[in-house]
Amino acid sequence: MIKHFISLEWKQFRRASYFQKGLAIKILLFLAVIYFGGIALFLGGVMFFGLKKVFPDVDPIVMVNNYLIYWIFFELMIRYFIQQLPVMNIKPLMIIPIKRDSVIHYLLGKTTLSFFNFISLFIVFPFSIVLLFKGYPVSNVILWFFAILCITMSINFLNFLINKSNTVFYGIVSVVAAIVALRYFNIFDVTEPIGKIFNGLYNQPYLAIIPLLIMIGLYKANFNFIRKGFYLDGAISKKIKEVHATDLSWMDRFGSVAPFLKNDIKMITRNARPKQVVLMSFFFLFYGLFFFTQKIYIEEMPYLLGFASIFITGGFLLSFGQLVPSWDSEYYKLLMSQNIPYRQYLESKWYLMVFAVIVAFILSTPYLYFGVDIYLIIAAGALFNIGLNTFITLFGGALNRVPIELDTKAKAFSNTNGFNPTQLLIALPKMALPIIIFFIPYHFINFNAGLIALALSGLIGIVFKNVFLNKIEQVYQKGKYKTIAAFSEKK
C-alpha cells in the first residue's frame, strides 16, 4: 500500500510543471540544504565548548535547557512560514479499497522526513556525542536526546495543526505574545520554570516518557483531525455562507485600474488564504520593535536599520506581493482572454502594493517615539518599497507559477502555505538591496547620506515606473503560455 502512495507521490512531483524550473535554482537549493545542514552539525559540535567558555559557571547542558523554549518557538515559527505540508489528493482514493487510516498514517509519516526535523537533530546529535565524551552519564544523555527528538516531532505535528486550524494558530500566537510581554515588562520570566522543566528532563531521564506521550498525543490529534475531514463534504466541498456584498464604488476614482483593485479587495476579504497572508503582513509593522528597542542594533549594526525599515512598511509587499500572479491562478484564463491588457493588470497590482505601503507607513507613525531619525529611515524605506521593491516583487512574480487554491482553509489535505524556496531566492534581493543602498553612503559619508540614498533610489524607481512596467510586462508576456498551463494544472 505504502509503496503505491510513494510511487504516486513521486510521479506527481516529477510531472508537475513547476518542478521543471531552472537547473540553477535546483543546485542553489541543494547547496542551501548542505549549507544549513553543515552549519547545524558544526553548531552542535562546538556548542558545548562555546557555552563553557562564555558561561564558565554554568553547566552547558543546563544553559541549553534553559533556553530550549526559545528554540522551540523559533522552530515553530520557521516551520509555520516555510515548511511545506504534505499534500495528497484524496478524492480518487476515497472510493477505492484503501483503508482511510493507512492513508492518514502515510501522510503523517511523510512529514517526519521533512528537512526541518533534521535541523535540530543535526544540532543535538553532535552535542550529545560531546556530552558523552565529556563523561556525562550515558543514560541521562541518551534519554535527553530521545526527549528532544520527541519534542522536535511534536513541533512537527503541532505545526500541522496550527496550519490547519485557526483556533490553534491564534492560541499559540497569544501564548507566545503573553510570554514575551511578561518577560519584556519584567513581570514574570517564564524562562526559568520552563528551564527547570527541561533540566528535570535531563536529570530524571525516565521523564522522557512525557515528550514521548506529548508526541503521540499530537499525532493522535492530527490523525483525528484529518480523519474527521476525510469526507467529501468535509475536506473537499465547502460550506456555503450567505454573502454580504460591500460597496466599493468609491474606488472608481482610480480609473482604469479600479475594477481590478475592487476585485482584489474582494479576493482578499472573501478567501481564507489571502486573508491569512494579509493578517500576517500586519504583524510586520511590529518588526521595528525588535531593532529599535535594542541600542546594539542602532549603534553597532546600523546597516540593519535599512533592513528593518523595509520590513515595517513592506509586510504586504513581501507576503502578498510575492505571490502575485498566483492569487489569480484560479481564473487566469479569464483574465488572459478578457478585454484586459497585461499592462493594466500589472499596474493594478502595483497600485495595490503602493497603497498597502502607504497605509503601513501611516500606521507606523508611533515609531516617532524612537526619534525622528528612526522615523525618517522608515520613510526612506517606504519610498524604497514603493519605488523599487514593488517592481522587484512583480518581476519575481513572473517566475512564480505555483497555483494557489484561494479558499482552502477547510481542507485538511492541501497545502495552505504557498511559500516555496524559489520565492525565498527571489526575496533575497528585496532584503539585501536596501542594506547595501543604505550602508555604503552611511559608511563613507554619514547617516543622512544613507537615508537620502535609500529615499532617492525609491524616487528614481517611481520616475522610471513606466520603463520598469514595460520591461516586466515583456517578461510576463513571454511566460504567458507557461503560466497558463501551470495554473490550469489541478492539484
Binding site: 456555503i240 475594477p259 479576493m267 481564473y331 484564463k333 478585454n339 484561494l406 497558463i484
Partner: protein, 235 residues
C-alpha cells in the same frame, strides 16, 4: 471574420491539431463537433491565445491573435470554470466583466435582465458566491457573462453540457438570435449533434485534429453526422 491558416499544435511531436485553412465569415453561427481529443478545445484555446501555435496563425478580424491583444475588446468566451471568479456573486461577476468591457452598471443590468428566463431564478439575487453554485448554474452565469459588452465574436466550449433540458432549449434560442439578429459570429462546440444542427448554420467535424467534414446545415445534416460518428459511413 476569423481566418485560420496552416494552423498546427504539437505536444512533444504529437500533433493534436492541424488545420490547413478555415474561414469563418462574420455573423455565422459555427459549430465544431468531434470526439474527445479531436482538438475542439485546443482550437478555441488557440483562438484565445491561451496556448501557442506550433505553426500557422489565426486572424481574428485581421488581427493576429498571438501577436496583438487588440482582438480582446470584441471577443468574448466561456470555455470552462476557470473563466469564472469563484469568490464573486453572479451580479458582481457580471459587473466586473462589464467594467472590463466598458459597460456601466445600468448597461449590464439591462442586458442581464433579458436572460431572467434563462437563469430560471437560480442566478440573480442568490447571495451566493459563484464557487458555491452548481456546475450547471455556473455555466449559465459564464455564458451570459460572455454576452456582455456587445462582442462581435463569442466562443462557447460545450455550452450545452451540464445544463438542464429547459435551459438547453433556451440557450439554443439565445445563440440563434445572436447570429441572426445581431450579426455576431458565434462559435460553439458540442457533443450533442442534435443541438448543434439546430443552432449552427455550419458544422465542421474535427477528427484527430483535422477537418474531416465541413457542412452547411440542412435537413440531412443530422443524419449525415450520426452516420459519421456511428462509424458506419461508407468511405
Amino acid at each position: 471574420m476569423i481566418i485560420t491558416h496552416n494552423l498546427s499544435k504539437k505536444y512533444n511531436e504529437v500533433s493534436v491539431l492541424n488545420i490547413e485553412s478555415l474561414e469563418i465569415p462574420k455573423g455565422q453561427s459555427f459549430g465544431l463537433v468531434g470526439n474527445n481529443g479531436a482538438g475542439k478545445t485546443t482550437y478555441f484555446s488557440l483562438l484565445l491565445d491561451l496556448i501557442q501555435p506550433t505553426t500557422g496563425y489565426i486572424k481574428n478580424k485581421d488581427i493576429l491573435v498571438n501577436e496583438s491583444e487588440d482582438w480582446k475588446p470584441f471577443t468574448s468566451s466561456f470555455i470552462d470554470e476557470s473563466f469564472l471568479i469563484g469568490y464573486l456573486t453572479a451580479e458582481e461577476y457580471f459587473y466586473f466583466i462589464g467594467e472590463l468591457r466598458g459597460q456601466n452598471k445600468a448597461d449590464v443590468d439591462a442586458l442581464v435582465s433579458q436572460f431572467e428566463d434563462f437563469f430560471h431564478g437560480e442566478i440573480l439575487g442568490q447571495k451566493k458566491y459563484l464557487r458555491d453554485l452548481s456546475k450547471g448554474n455556473q455555466k449559465k452565469a459564464g455564458i451570459v457573462a460572455a454576452l456582455i459588452g456587445n462582442p462581435e465574436v463569442i466562443i462557447l466550449d460545450e455550452p450545452f453540457a451540464n445544463l438542464d433540458p429547459t435551459t438547453q432549449i433556451r440557450l439554443k434560442q439565445i445563440i440563434k438570435n445572436l447570429a441572426q439578429k445581431h450579426g455576431v459570429t458565434v462559435l460553439v462546440s458540442s457533443h450533442d449533434l442534435l443541438h448543434v444542427t439546430d443552432v449552427c448554420e455550419r458544422i465542421v467535424v474535427l477528427e484527430k485534429g483535422e477537418v474531416v467534414k465541413d457542412l452547411a446545415t440542412n435537413e440531412a445534416t443530422l443524419k449525415e453526422l450520426e452516420l459519421h460518428f456511428a462509424g458506419s459511413e461508407v468511405l
